[in-house]
Amino acid sequence: MIRNVVLAAMLGLSATVMAQPAAAQTTINFASWQLEEPGNSQWWKSVLDGFRAANPDITVQTTYIPFADYLNQMTVRFASGRPPSVIQLSQQTMGAFAAQGWLASLDDRIKGTEIATDWAPSESDLKWDGQERGVLVSNSAYMLFYNQKVLADAGVSVPTDFASFKADVAKITNKQTGIFGLAAVTTEHPTVVEDFTRFLRWQGTDVIKDGKYNLTSPEAIAAINVYRKTVGENAPLGNNSAIARQLFLDGKTGFIIDGPWFWSWLAKASPEVKANLKMIRLPFGPQLAPGGISLHLAGGLDKQTEDAAWKFILYATGKQLQRDYLVETGQPAGRASTVLSPADEKQYPYLLTISQSAADAVPVFPADQKIKANFAEYSSIIMKAALRALSTEDDTAAILKDAQSELEQEIPLN
């Protein structure tokens, strides 16, 4: 109350100044970081155009904010009580928003739709307090990209398991010629957390085991030693994802492990490099997904707006658009791998590979709700450990012991 009086008095303006939308017309606001992003913008444009044409009584406003600034801008809007009606999030960030009670439950809306039956297993990852909170638009899976010329020059063949991958990477690195085995993210950047975690999982262990943090176990220490050696000694240090990808495209590294959409970026390489760049399913298990992109309804919308907003989500995840999404962006769709027609499979064999990897992939990060709610914190503790491993001489066991105790203190599991 005092708050409002202060506000109104300060500006000499009251809330009535705000424009009221016409009654017959429902206005929804859709926020996304992909509306102008090359690779995705075309698809979103077709979704918006199609939806607007089919629903003349619904006005769709859009809020585009580039990824670098998206989450804090969304935080500003939700925290000040003025959220968009439909918000795009990634699986990793959804927890923090759900924990604040900002995302509406979708249980009643999803019941009886194809989302309940036809969606990839990762959809179950979007639950909060036992209720569905989002709809997966896209899924993901790590793919292995390699440069066959760089491999051939170093005299190595395409890896068939984790051990041969390790060995190949080490053999390719030649700092004199500026050729590295691997392009990886080696600076303060979320991908480091993925890298750290997947090196654990590819070697048969994990951050959490039997409901407890597992970083001090001998197998975790051994796995992170491999990470230090493989990434720390064979990837240029200090790279963010943009530079890492650019290096691979410029033919300066043998491998990069990245999301499937990177396939479409290979076209950006110069013709002589491009011919050598290949993508295959990861030749070692488990197939992992860092999480896809999902759509959510803001909590507390009035019924009319919420109906319209839900209509928009259903439209964007319709079967034809999901197929187009896969074909146009190279990112597997939220629907399980049934979106491609036999003709598509023939025309786009790589999309089949991608879809199958995604259909087999399990989420790379722990499913524990406490970790999801505090993912940024979890991420920063792991990132600190990973960067210590890459950029200092500290003992691996000591690094992991610190990380473990920080995790236990900041995000206790029980």
Binding site: L7, A8, M10, L11, L13, A15, V17, M18, A19, W33, Q34, E36, E37, P38, G39, T63, Y64, I65, P66, F67, A68, D69, N72, Q73, V76, R77, A79, S80, G81, R82, T177, G178, S241, A242, I243, R245, Q246, L247, D250, K252, G259, W261, F262, W265, K268, S270
Partner: protein
């Protein structure tokens, strides 16, 4: 050669060396924009441009692939309006602080600096609440106001410093001749603080021109975005378009250079010796 000339020559050489080193990152930005990325991303990149591989297409693409002109226009509108308004406001305030110093007045002057103390990330949410309550989101007026809050405190104190150097006797003489205090300020004092006005203008312009966080938060409508915010869209979630980004960065500095060149004569129009001869 005289001793003074030698000293000047040495000074010139130091200056040139300094400028070369300081502007190297800027030079490298231009190089990145005109050379193929693969030539720049090299273990031993050539420091001089390879004339056969230079291409200015990135500079064209900036305009064809993005609404660069409308970003620039927004920045110019917001920058121009906030500079003019801030200049008026802070000249008056600086004059007031210089000529009177009652306690409440001093307190108010000091309070201006409070806005410089709060971390901007904390202001964002309350500011967003104020702005959306007042219907100022997506309006140039709102952003102009926000930029004024950044620029006015320093500009005010800067102007106070310049007014302090002008002897009061000058206006007193004028007011005795029948001019009001405001007229005296306008006719007698202002012409004497031109360097201060020029310095403040440059400061206000550049502050607004390079401001990012308010522009990002308070304007979401794509066609109204300012340059710093718009340029961020070259940094995608997945990839950075280096050539485009660096070309855009290069172009973004041009208006500032124009401002410098235009205001430079005022910055140095050596303070009217005669007026101060008596002090």
């Amino acid at each position: 050669m005289t001793k003074a000339k030698l000293a000047n020559l040495a000074g010139l050489l130091v200056m040139i060396a300094f400028v070369v080193i300081t502007l190297f990152p800027f030079y490298w930005m231009v190089m990145t924009a005109i050379m193929p990325t693969s030539a720049i991303l090299s273990r031993a990149p050539s420091l001089l441009p390879d004339l056969s591989r230079i291409s200015f297409t990135a500079f064209v693409s900036v305009f064809t692939k993005s609404p660069f002109l409308s970003w620039m226009l927004s920045s110019l509108i917001v920058g121009g309006a906030s500079t003019i308004l801030s200049l008026v406001v802070s000249t008056l305030a600086g004059y007031s602080l210089s000529r009177w110093n009652s306690k409440p007045q001093q307190a108010l002057g000091a309070a201006l600096l409070i806005s410089k103390l709060i971390p901007s990330s904390l202001i964002l949410i309350p500011l967003f609440i104020i702005y959306s309550t007042a219907g100022l989101i997506d309006s140039y007026l709102g952003l102009v106001l926000a930029h004024m809050t950044i620029g006015v405190p320093l500009a005010t104190w800067l102007m106070k410093g310049f007014f302090d150097r002008i002897p009061r006797e000058l206006e007193q003489a004028a007011t005795i001749d029948g001019a009001s205090q405001i007229q005296a300020l306008w006719l007698v004092v202002l012409p004497l603080v031109k360097p201060g006005l020029a310095a403040s203008t440059v400061y206000l312009m550049l502050t607004s021109w390079s401001e990012f966080i308010f522009g990002r938060t308070l304007i979401t409508e794509p066609t109204r975005q300012v340059l710093t915010v718009g340029m961020q869209s070259f940094v995608g979630e997945q990839m950075v378009d280096w050539q485009l980004l660096m070309a855009a960065g290069t172009i973004s500095i041009v208006p500032a250079i124009i401002v410098f060149v235009f205001l430079e004569p005022f910055l140095v129009s050596g303070m009217t010796k005669g007026a101060l001869a008596g002090t």
